[in-house]
Symmetry: C2
Subunit: 167 residues, 2 copies
DNA sequence: CAAGGTTAGTACGTGGCACGAACTAAAGTA
DNA sequence: TACTTTAGTTCGTGCCACGTACTAACCTTG
């Protein structure tokens, strides 16, 4: 946990520049901090970092190897070792030697881990819904939809980029 | 810098539940990660953490004391010491003894620091604009506006909460 | 099948970030 | 003047992330 009650200071410029304002970058940045902090706060209540929460989140419907975990979370494999170590020490995940590859482990979430992440996710959703409650139904839907659109096109763009810059 | 090319896995539940879906919490979470990662990535290119970037961002138009910095960034004063130390070591900020209080320092950004944060902010804005470019002009505006609304009402809510729960 | 390279994971050292507790020095107050 | 509060630092702890170096298992290929 980091900054539960943050001022969310901007990093973006005030855009005194020339061309017409296309987006309020600042608002998006602040919204991002708001969401991020909510997650951090809620995870922190259960002594989880955001990374740990992401780990458990990923494991809800997967049993990846350490390596795959690295790719899923965008972390180096050396980071994964410690991450899984700490989670395992708390009984949230387990390592099982892979059937076909004796070097590899399958990482699985335990019942305790699952329970933890599900509570967390529920509380997180609740919190976000609360933050967004002042909007009208239509606006909430619009916001979600626009967010989804941006995320999707970004994912697509990254996909394209990966091909454009071959490995 | 942390995870430049992230998969942005969700932590939110899939909402198989009963009541009508009010918001796509997941989309908001992913958007938040997208923005956050963009900032992290861009700051990382300049060997800055998000915290360092926030520090410099705050100092663009302020010369707070260590204590005030703590409140601005939502960090403990013991965290501020190291944070400012490291920034100072890199010549990005300076400490000046306060005129009226010999215990306190005014922390100021240096020219180098200002240049750094302004480049960073510009590149960040550019990146966000790019991410949001696929939307129509109207949608971009809508998204910004909705984000701003949520942020504003949240800030308001926190203000209220603080009074509701006196100190 | 044996040699050489690749892949999965760990260990270790470094550094940043964040905290709490203990401390010094300056201010403020009774 | 003595007592308390405030500003900031220092130190110890733990997490996170990385890069490097290593082991063990796997996979080629001659």
């Amino acid at each position: 946990m980091t900054s539960p009650d943050d001022t969310l200071p901007s990093v973006a410029p005030s855009h005194a520049g020339g061309e017409p304002v296309l987006v309020d970058v600042d608002a998006l940045a602040q919204l991002s901090f708001l969401v991020h902090n909510a997650l951090d706060e809620i995870a922190g209540q259960r002594d989880l970092s955001i990374t740990q929460a992401r780990l458990l989140g990923v494991l809800r419907d997967r049993e990846p190897t350490m390596n795959q975990l690295g790719r899923l979370l965008g972390l180096d494999k050396s980071s994964i070792s410690g991450l899984v170590d700490r989670a395992q020490r708390r009984g949230l995940v387990t390592r099982t030697v892979s059937a076909n590859d004796r070097r590899a482990f399958q990482v699985s979430i335990t019942d305790a881990g699952r329970q933890l992440i599900e509570q967390l996710a529920a509380q997180f959703a609740e919190q976000i819904e609360l933050s967004v409650a002042p909007l009208s139904d239509a606006d909430r839907q619009r916001l979600s939809q626009l967010a989804a659109q941006v995320v999707a096109s970004d994912a697509h763009r990254r996909g394209i980029d990966l091909r454009t810059t071959p490995r």
